[in-house]
C-alpha cells in the first residue's frame, strides 16, 4: 500500500527532517509512527499527502509513484486518503455538519448519500448534537473529533492520523481508538502518529519509531517504548 524508498527531506532552512527513510506498509495494516517531538513524523505524513515534496527518494502509494503525479491528478489522489491533521484544519466558516459534508461534496456524492452518511459519522465521534456549531464554538477535543469524522466519512482506503487523540481525555481517546480499529478491520490501512503510550502499548500493533529523521525501530506487535 505504502512504500518509502530512501526518502530524505531537507527544509529550506537546511534543517534535515528526514534522512534515508525506508519502510513498507501492507494493505490493511495498522501502523503506529512514534518518536519524540520534532522527530519528523508529521513530515512523513505531509510527504504522503503531497503537502510537501521529498528532497530525494521515491514514495509509492497504491502502486503509484506519487512523486510523479501530475498537478491535475493530485486532488483525486488526496481523496483516496483520509487525513486527520495535527492542527485539525477545519473550515472556519462552515459548521460541524458542513465541514464533514464538504468532504463528500468534493467527491460529488449524491444528496441522499450525504444526508445519510454525515449524521452517522458525527454520531460515531459523539458530535451529533454539535452539528450546528462552528469550529470556534467547539472545545479542543470536539474540533479534533470533527477532523476525525471528516477523514473517515468517505471510507478511504488509507487513513492517516496525526496525533488524533492529543486533545482528548483517555476515555474518549480510547473510544476513538476502537473506532479507528474497527475501520482498520473493515480493510482500511491505518498509519497513525501518536504520543499516547498507553494506547500503543495496549493495542499491540506494528510500531515504527523515528528519531531525528532516522528510523530506529520497526516492530510487529510493538510497544511505545520510550520514557524511563
Amino acid at each position: 500500500m505504502i512504500e518509502l524508498k530512501n526518502v530524505s527531506k531537507v527544509y529550506k532552512n537546511n534543517h534535515i527532517a528526514l534522512s534515508n527513510v525506508n519502510f513498507k506498509v501492507q494493505k490493511g495494516e495498522f501502523v503506529f509512527l512514534v518518536g519524540p517531538s520534532g522527530a519528523g513524523k508529521s513530515t512523513i505524513l505531509k510527504l504522503l499527502m503531497k503537502e510537501i515534496e521529498p528532497t530525494s527518494g521515491d514514495i509509492v502509494v497504491n502502486n503509484v509513484n506519487i512523486t510523479n503525479l501530475k498537478r491535475k491528478e493530485i486532488p483525486y489522489y488526496r481523496r483516496s486518503i483520509g487525513v486527520v491533521f495535527q492542527d485539525f484544519r477545519l473550515l472556519p466558516d462552515k459548521t460541524v455538519y458542513e465541514n464533514v459534508e464538504f468532504a463528500m461534496q468534493i467527491v460529488e456524492a449524491s444528496h441522499k448519500d450525504i444526508k445519510k452518511r454525515v449524521p452517522q459519522v458525527l454520531d460515531m465521534v459523539g458530535l451529533y448534537s454539535k452539528q450546528k456549531n462552528y469550529p470556534h464554538q467547539l472545545s479542543g477535543g470536539e474540533q479534533q473529533r470533527v477532523a476525525i469524522a471528516r477523514a473517515i466519512v468517505n471510507n478511504p482506503k488509507l487513513l492517516i492520523c496525526d496525533e488524533p487523540t492529543g486533545n482528548l481525555d483517555p476515555d474518549t481517546a480510547q473510544e476513538i481508538m476502537s473506532l479507528i480499529n474497527d475501520i482498520n478491520k473493515s480493510g482500511t490501512t491505518v498509519l497513525m502518529v501518536t504520543h499516547a503510550k498507553d494506547l500503543v502499548d495496549r493495542m499491540k500493533k506494528r510500531v515504527i519509531a523515528i528519531e531525528k529523521g532516522v528510523i530506529v525501530r520497526d516492530q510487529q506487535r510493538g510497544v511505545y517504548g520510550y520514557e524511563d
Binding site: 503537502e51 488526496r78 473550515l91 467527491v107
Partner: protein, 295 residues
C-alpha cells in the same frame, strides 16, 4: 458536473457573501465607487465630444459671387460646388440678405449702414458646409477656381485651430477614459485580491482535503460575479440619477448651454456597468484565487 454540484456552487457563493459581510461590502462599494467615477468621466467625455462636434459644425466656407452672375449661372455654380468631395451643404445668400446680415452684425450701430441701401456694395454668396475641418483645405481652392466666384473666405487659421483643438479634446478624453477604465479594473481587482487573500487558509485546506481547482474556484467566481453585478448596477443607478438631475438643473438655469440629454448619454449605463462589474468581479476572482490553488 452534477446538478447537485451546481446547486452547491450557488448556495456556497451566496452563503459566502453573507458570512464575509465586511469583505462583500468592501467589494461592492469599491466596484460601485470606481465605476461611479468612470461613469462621471464618461458623461463628461460624451458632452465634451458633443460640444466639439457642434463647434465643427460651425465651420463654413463663404464664396462671394461676382455681381454679374445670373440666376442660371448661379444654379450651375451651386451644382458644381455640391459635386466637390467633402461638401455637405450649400446655401445661397442674396445681396439683400447680405446687407441685412451686415446690419444685424452692426447691432445697435446699424444706422451706419443707412447710406449703403441705395447702391448695395455687398456681394451675394454661397455658404458651404463641409464634412470635417480637414476638408476645408481641399474644398476651398476648388471653389475659388470656378467662374463667377469673386473670392473665397474660409478662415483657414481658425479652422485649423478648431480642428486641432477638437482632435486634442477627443484624443485626450479617449486616453483619459482608457486610463480610468484600467485604474477601475485595477482597483476592483486589488480589493478582490485582498478578500481572497484573507481566505487563503480556507482555500489551502480545501485543496488538502482533495478538492479540485474548479470546485474551489466556482463559488469564488460566482461570488465575484454577483458582487460585481451589484456594485456596477449601483454605480449606474447613481450616475444616471445624478446626470438627469444635473441636466435638468442646467436646462432651467441657462438656455444656451445644455447637457446631452440623459436618454442619449447615460441610459445605457445600467446594463453596460452591470456587465462590466460582473466581468471584472468574476475575472478578478479567477485571477486572484490562482496563486493560492498551487498547494
Amino acid at each position: 458536473m452534477r446538478i447537485n454540484t451546481i446547486k452547491y456552487y450557488i448556495k456556497e457563493s451566496l452563503k459566502s457573501v453573507y458570512r464575509n459581510r465586511i469583505m462583500s461590502l468592501a467589494s461592492i462599494t469599491t466596484v460601485a465607487a470606481t465605476l461611479f467615477i468612470l461613469g462621471v468621466f464618461m458623461a463628461l467625455a460624451i458632452n465634451v465630444n458633443r460640444f466639439a462636434a457642434n463647434v465643427e459644425d460651425m465651420i463654413e466656407i463663404t464664396a462671394f459671387l461676382k455681381d454679374d452672375v445670373t440666376t442660371l449661372k448661379q444654379q450651375e455654380l451651386e451644382r458644381q460646388i455640391r459635386e466637390i468631395q467633402g461638401v455637405v451643404s450649400v446655401e445661397y445668400e442674396s445681396k439683400e440678405k447680405a446687407l441685412e446680415k451686415f446690419k444685424e452684425q452692426l447691432g445697435e450701430n446699424k444706422d451706419l449702414a443707412k447710406g449703403l441701401e441705395e447702391s448695395n456694395p455687398l456681394p451675394a454668396s454661397f455658404i458651404i458646409k463641409v464634412d470635417s475641418p480637414d476638408s476645408v483645405e481641399y474644398v476651398s481652392p476648388r471653389i475659388a477656381q470656378l467662374e463667377g466666384v469673386l473670392k473665397v473666405k474660409d478662415a483657414k487659421k481658425t479652422v485649423q485651430t478648431i480642428g486641432k483643438l477638437v482632435k486634442i479634446v477627443r484624443y485626450s478624453s479617449t486616453v483619459l477614459m482608457i486610463i480610468l477604465g484600467t485604474i477601475s479594473i485595477f482597483l476592483i481587482s486589488n480589493t478582490i485580491k485582498l478578500t481572497v487573500f484573507a481566505r487563503k487558509r480556507e482555500i489551502s485546506i480545501m485543496k488538502y482535503i482533495g478538492a479540485t481547482d474548479w470546485f474551489i474556484r466556482w463559488p469564488f467566481i460566482l461570488e465575484g460575479l454577483l458582487l460585481g453585478l451589484i456594485g456596477g448596477f449601483i454605480a449606474a443607478l447613481i450616475v444616471e440619477n445624478a446626470y438627469t438631475y444635473a441636466a435638468n438643473a442646467i436646462k432651467h438655469n441657462i438656455m444656451i448651454f445644455t447637457l446631452v440629454p440623459p436618454q442619449e448619454a447615460v441610459k445605457q449605463f445600467w446594463w453596460q456597468f452591470s456587465l462590466l462589474g460582473t466581468l471584472i468581479g468574476g475575472f478578478g476572482s479567477y485571477i486572484s484565487i490562482r496563486r493560492f490553488l498551487s498547494v
